[in-house]
């Protein structure tokens, strides 16, 4: 019984660790796509321009 509870606790701790890492990855991933694909700053737009068009992001 005690072992079971401990196992469950360590399993949920592992799940929490996984979710935390997934949140960090999602945040960085969305940030990268936003920066390269959407950011309105003129210099970022100019540098990423051809790539934005080539990857079908909305651009002008």
């Amino acid at each position: 019984m005690t072992t079971n509870t401990a196992a469950v606790r360590s399993l949920s701790a592992a799940r929490a660790e996984t979710l935390k890492a997934a949140f960090v990855a999602l945040f960085i991933g969305l940030g990268l796509v936003y920066g390269a694909g959407f950011a309105n700053s003129q210099s970022v737009h100019d540098a990423a321009h051809d790539s934005r068009h080539a990857l079908s992001f909305p651009c002008h």
Binding site: E17, T18, L19, K20, A21, A22, F23, V24, A25, L26, I28, G29, L30, G31, L32, V33, G35, A36, G37, F38, N40, D46, A47, A48, H49, D50, S51, R52, H53, A54, L55, S56, F57, P58, C59, H60
Partner: protein, 222 residues
């Protein structure tokens, strides 16, 4: 865990990004350059601003490749995060399928309302188009997840509704004014979708592979 995840995303993103950048160099970029000839004829003042052609070409290719690597890394991290959230076993095949679904959301669904455009094509307000694009991609992605991964009939119906709904709100197309030949624009739209599809699937497959490799490393050393 975080380090392992970021490492897998970075490795996959850099390799996939460089491969896709190579593909862009021979498919989409020549079409953009060809379209710019027509565009410059339209706005003659832009030609005077051009720097030395060789240096400009090189730095432009470098900037484009860097942006593509950034997007691929972002795609790889988003796919890995999504698979971890939903408790998916991460391997190259499953991750490539997730990439294909993501492409259906950000490439196919969005291109119905906003066809990929060559530079210089007539366009409406950028912010409005970006908002519709993001909303459509998110809604379609969530809808696909509900359809493919949830069992309840109600969830599947809701998923189908999420996929269809954004298509009722297409942005108003701009009045055509481009002098670029339609043949170039058509080739570009097709090439652009192919490049984006490859970017997602390759980022996914390599992220799955890299995840497996870094996880093995950790199991062996532990």
């Amino acid at each position: 865990m975080i380090t392992r995840l970021l490492a897998a995303g970075l490795i996959a993103g850099v390799v996939a990004g460089l491969a896709v950048a190579g593909l862009q160099h021979v498919t989409t970029t020549p079409l953009i350059l060809a379209a710019e000839v027509y565009e410059t004829a339209q706005h003659a003042h832009d030609a005077a601003e051009a720097a030395g052609p060789a240096w400009e070409g090189l730095s432009r290719t470098a900037a484009t490749s860097l942006a593509t690597v950034a997007v691929s890394t972002g795609y790889a991290l988003i796919l890995l995060a999504g698979m971890l959230f939903s408790g998916e076993a991460i391997g190259p095949r499953r991750a490539a399928l997730w990439g294909a679904c993501a492409f259906a959301a950000t490439g196919l669904a969005t291109s119905l309302g906003l066809a990929p455009q060559l530079p210089g094509a007539a366009e409406t307000d950028l912010a409005g188009r970006q908002i519709w694009w993001v909303a459509t991609a998110a809604s379609t992605g969530a809808g696909l997840f509900a359809l493919l991964r949830l069992e309840a009939t109600a969830a599947k119906l809701f998923g189908a509704a999420l996929i269809v709904a954004p298509q009722f709100f297409w942005p108003t197309p701009a009045a055509p004014e481009s002098t670029v030949p339609a043949e170039l624009a058509a080739r570009f739209a097709a090439a652009s979708l192919t490049v984006q599809g490859l970017c997602w699937v390759l980022a996914g497959a390599l992220a799955g592979l890299a995840w497996r490799l870094v996880s093995q490393d950790e199991t062996e050393t532990a």
